[in-house]
Amino acid sequence: MKAFTYERPGTPAEAAAAVARRPGAKFIAGGTNLLDLMKLQIETPTHLVDVNGLGLDRIEPTPEGGLRIGALVRNTDLAADARVRRDYAVLARALLAGASGQLRNQATTAGNLLQRTRCPYFYDTAQPCNKRQPGSGCSAIDGVSRTLAVIGTSDACIATHPGDMAVAMRVLDATVETVDAEGSQRTIPIADFHRLPGDTPHIETALKPGELITAVTLPKPPGGAQVYRKVRDRASYAYALVSVAVVVQPDGTGRVALGAVAHKPWRLEAAEAELPRGARAVTERLLAGAKPTHENAYKLKLAERTLGAALTQARA
């Protein structure tokens, strides 16, 4: 961990300005990912702007009938919220499938969207990694890749977004609200929030430097049967090998997003038209053009079978 300075600003705009002002500054919220990365000097912020005291910790109804989730709402509180449990069950289930109770108590909604990959090479500063050190190369493509991405990859990076919450947010069509250093606000559809690696895997989101997430908004409840199914090597406290979020309506239409297969939650609205034809048809469309390694090709079949199980559960 490199020495850093620290401040607690009074407002979201001040926080954004504080980060924009200082090269190498970063926001800190729950710190469950950032502090680990700082200890390993994968992240080396010179200045930390603590956003925990900004009052961004409320869950409020929106005029459109949805929910506005403050950026600092803890995962535990979000998963336990009665409105979330009733109307957005896929989100509650995704949250509870992640991490451990202790981590969920600390981890925040915005921080969860920004968590960084768990590619093992990203975590070893002696190894090349384009995400950690742009231009140094990717060790994973011809290395250990069993847990890594199968689609949307590039020659520069095959890392995944490791989270569960974002997969549910994607299937729920959430939007991300931000404020920048000038105090201007904007909303970013979740579909556009995470980026594919391309030639710049170190740039993971659409956020501009200093731009601060203030909330994540859910549109009005989608109804239907909602399922989140996470597949992993052990029963708890593990990252997904594949996860599936589905919302299925009584008429058989619905939405599907996959986790742990790409650099972002993976959803293709066009593939959802195949839902009446079953899981195989959907995943064939959803994962068309996949470029797995020999170690992670199993994810294609696993995604299909997991989606099948999730659809069966949703329709039961």
Partner: protein, 739 residues
Amino acid sequence: MKFETPAGQNPIDQLKVVGRSTDRIDGKYKTTGTAPYAYERHDVVPNQAYGYVLGAGIAKGRLRGMDVAAAWKAPGVLAVLTTLDIPKLGLGKMNTANLFGGAEVQHYHQAIAVVVAETFEQARAASFLIRPDYAPEDGRFDLAAEARSAKPVGADSAEGSGGGPEDRVGDFEGAFAAAAVKLDETYTTPDETHAMLEPHATIAAWQGDRLTLWTSNQMIAWSKGSVAKILGIPPENVRVDSPYIGGGFGAKLFVRADAVIAALAAKAARRPVKLALTRPLIANNTTHRPATIQRIRIGATRDGTITAIAHESTSGNLPEGRPETAVDQTKLLYAGANRLTAMRLARLDLPEGNAMRAPGEAPGLMALEVAMDEMAERLGLDPVAFRVKNDTQVDPGHPERRFSHRDLVGCLRLGAERFGWARRSAKPGQVRDGQWLVGLGVAAGFRNNLLTKSAARVRLDGRGILTVETDMTDIGTGSYTIIAQTVAEMMGVSLDQVVVRLGDSDFPASAGSGGQWGANNATAGVYAACVKLREAVAQRLGVNSADAAFADGEVRAGNRGTPLAQAAAAGELVAEDGIEYGDIAKSHQQSTFAGHFVEVGVDVDTAEVRVRRMLAVCAAGRILNPKSARSQVIGGMTMGVGSALMEELAVDKKRGFFVNHDLATYEVPVHADIPHQEVIFLDEVDPMSSPMKAKGVGELGICGVGAALANAVYNATGVRVRDYPITLDKLLDRLPDAA
């Protein structure tokens, strides 16, 4: 005390304290955070500085140089010592790679520098400023590729199993060729890391030329000698102290870089230095259980009598390293007139392979006991019946050697009854419970019982308090408690009258903790010291020690009872003795046995394997403390689940290191993976083991579990996976189409 003939009646047989389920006497310190582990011993020496070890970023090659100027200038830095500053250090006991010194890099994350600073954070930050200049060399990192050039090597595991490069009985090839029913299959097990909770950690302080190490180590006497040898100082100038150890599993059998580098850093900084290896360093800097490729051939008559059995294992290691002794149990577990066991060793440039809980047997049984399951199916026999049919009461290679006591059949039969084995479908893939394909599996557990000398000192003071001192360690096993139970039984006092002091090299040398030899030998050493103390007490009180009974805090002879404390009224009584063994282990084979039963569910869609329940029935002599013994066995069973289902150090075969070097990516079972475990100990004693009539049990718990689980997966799905760990990707393609 020399133990040369089977034990007769002795005070331990009273079983007033020994043999009873007893809470750990150190439990309250551990659960309240007041048991100080090595890194937390803030009070043992003032002015402690912090060390941080830097590991090599290449797998093989040389260091051309290291730029440490920026590190020296960093805030708080007191010293920077690099491997280029000193010649290559010698090896300690069982070390294969050098722990520090010289320009050669033998494996990834081998220590190349240490920074000492006023705070941990300063030392860590400065370590990132060191710029090593490497001249990398090509290495060999792929066991499967190197297996072809592997050479026959004999060895022992340092934990009691071993043999020649090739050991033969009868004519294996002829008998196998002639056998009516045969199996010839190959099984692989991966590299594993010990993943104990407490990292390797040491505080080192010099007083003149005398060195004290407060550390975390399983084998105090070995370590004292090794530290002296590595540093080139007289052993009498070294003190090692390790009263509490947060798990070891073999990772702390030998001196590792933390101890050696803390000592060197303390000298360089002229301050006491504390340091711990970081979690990423533990996988690649320290030792691991080596991967194996095991070929097993079994031939039998149509009625299921084994006529030929061969077990050959190939593993890899650094030059001068030893093979994993995975074939050893196959010499002793089943009958059969024609036998072959062989070990081959490939040269690899991965980190050092060495002992991990039940080295040899743990991976060996993961292969052998699956082969037995496959063979039973070919023969149309129940797997329990097939094992019972081929039981042996003698060492098959030396039929004149009987087992001192062997009740594998009892373990299997009782286990089958208790587990509901009769309800198992012989045909796989038949049982469904909702989304789960359900299966049952069985395997035999086997681990030798080792006899090794062990000494202790016992003091009696004027208040009647008995204090035991021995360098025995408690690695979470319950040593404190069984030693206290032994003293209480021998001296006729309650447990709260006994103080146990462990882990200090100034105390008499014990067996230490390894190879499941600790409990029986260390308590036998304490027994010997107590016998001597009883004689001293009797003499002081003027009674004949043969007639004296020690009970309820009194010494009774004839009608007279005298408080035990009175013997020390005029001054403390001290007795020191140890147990040493004659040839009893040569004339009789001493081993421990288990029947492991596992029920699994395999998700019909995703192929996730989840354990539903487990049972171990153990035959391991007298159980000194059923509560702590059970804890040992369920811990072993849990580790067995890890080895079967998830544990694997992933090798980057190009860059030459274990990639998943943290606990987020090297997965071990969590609570949700272990829903229900049951342990039954057969009520038995083994008078040939020691006056305690006990045997080891801590490693028996893992031996066979992985195979029982693998067999249950087969029974559930009809898919046989011979490549551990059994992760879902190995099952998925072969599962039936989802409903």
